[in-house]
Symmetry: C2
Subunit: 244 residues, 2 copies
């Protein structure tokens, strides 16, 4: 575990602003939140890249959002979410992850396809629907990829974890989260049974960015370091350093 902190902002009701943000605006806020982990300043080019937009488009939008009080912005200096912006971002994040968890838990969606569906539904679902979905599947704490779900009140566990690539040979660990960026990759990880909750032991790490050999639920396999870096784990004290 590398570090830990928490976010708290009231998500519901959101005080005085008009309330209804457009889909694109929600996407901007989510992207800025993800890139700036809450309060770090974010480069407009990075937002553009993440949202697949031309940098010029971001400059314009960011100026508008600053005008609406959702973020603070100084030309050529990057942007930072205001409390209001952070609240909106977390609200969208909660929607997204609850929807993912619901699709997976209640409708048997395969985990490599929940992301895209949630990406569209998150802008259309009401708070009530999201709350009902969460209740229906027992108020889960994470989405199917292991990402934490912000609470209705705007709290989110922001614990950071080691990646499997950083784990030393001989260590046992439990998978807590995998990146949901690439469906193809998720399908592959699924085949290997590398998913949240799985326990694994690193057998060896070849040097020079070589393959990492490990056992997952009894099976031995090797994966590249690039893939391993997308898998976040929590070390297990009790399986520590077996002989090899």
């Amino acid at each position: 575990m590398k570090g830990s902190k928490g976010a708290h902002l009231s998500l519901s009701d959101s005080s005085a602003e008009e309330g209804t943000l457009t889909g694109p605006v929600e996407d901007y806020l989510k992207a800025i939140y993800a890139l700036g982990r809450g309060s770090v300043s974010v480069a407009t080019n990075d937002i553009a890249q993440r949202l697949n937009l031309a940098p010029a488009s971001v400059s314009g939008m960011v100026r508008r959002l600053a005008g609406q009080g959702l973020l603070s912005y100084e030309r050529y200096r990057g942007v930072t979410l205001t409390d209001m912006g952070r609240r909106a971002a977390l609200r969208t994040l909660r929607r997204h992850r609850v929807i993912e968890a619901y699709l997976s838990g209640a409708l048997n969606y395969p985990w490599d396809r929940v992301h895209d569906e949630a990406e569209r539904l998150e802008h259309a679902a009401s708070d009530e629907l999201v709350d009902r979905m969460a209740a229906a599947i027992g108020e889960p704490l994470t989405d199917p990829h292991g990402a934490p779900i912000p609470s209705r009140e705007g709290d989110m566990d922001e614990t950071e974890y080691l990646s499997l690539a950083e784990l030393g040979a001989g260590y046992g660990a439990r998978v807590v989260r995998v990146s949901d960026a690439d469906p193809e990759m998720l399908r592959y990880l699924g085949e290997l049974e590398i998913m949240p909750g799985a326990e694994l032991v690193v057998i060896s790490k070849a040097p020079y960015e070589g393959p990492i050999t490990l056992t997952v639920s009894g099976t031995m396999l090797s994966i590249g370091p690039q893939l391993a870096s997308q898998v976040m784990v929590e070390t297990l004290n009790d399986i520590e350093a077996p002989a090899h």
Copy 2:
């Protein structure tokens, strides 16, 4: 029963067009379908009223949609859906009604609130999601208000029914469908247990648009003709004309 006909058009895949219609476009097509029951010509003003838009906005949109082959349009003459447009309308209608049925059946949504939620989700949900929802609640044939759900293939039962206001005193009937236009009204009808499946007997109809007295599941009550006209029923041969 006043008449009966069926619609058949392949809903899936939709042949050669680009495929993704915007939310507003889907709303126009749905409105035109609803107003023209398939193929009757529809006045642009009626579309405007139904969608709560200025008539001028409709003229413009309708020209664009005609250009895309979704409807045929002659200035000052109203519009008619093409096969392609009808297909798209039925696809949206299916989404809408499946979502309503799902919200009600799987998430315990009260029936006066499913419409608004579905109105937003219908533009964001994928065909796969809609199909999974339908499967999860046993492929229902109607939504919670009794409106028929078009099949994946584009078939819809378009049977027309008598309204409760048209039913003569002494007749027994089963409620098949109620208007979902007004949540307030739905809540009231729910309190009275006037909902699809309920069986009722008309005791008397006061003249000059006076109240209609009836029994619903044993209880006697009176409603105005305006409300009664929003309740569609199917007569029951076996409870016909009891003495009074």
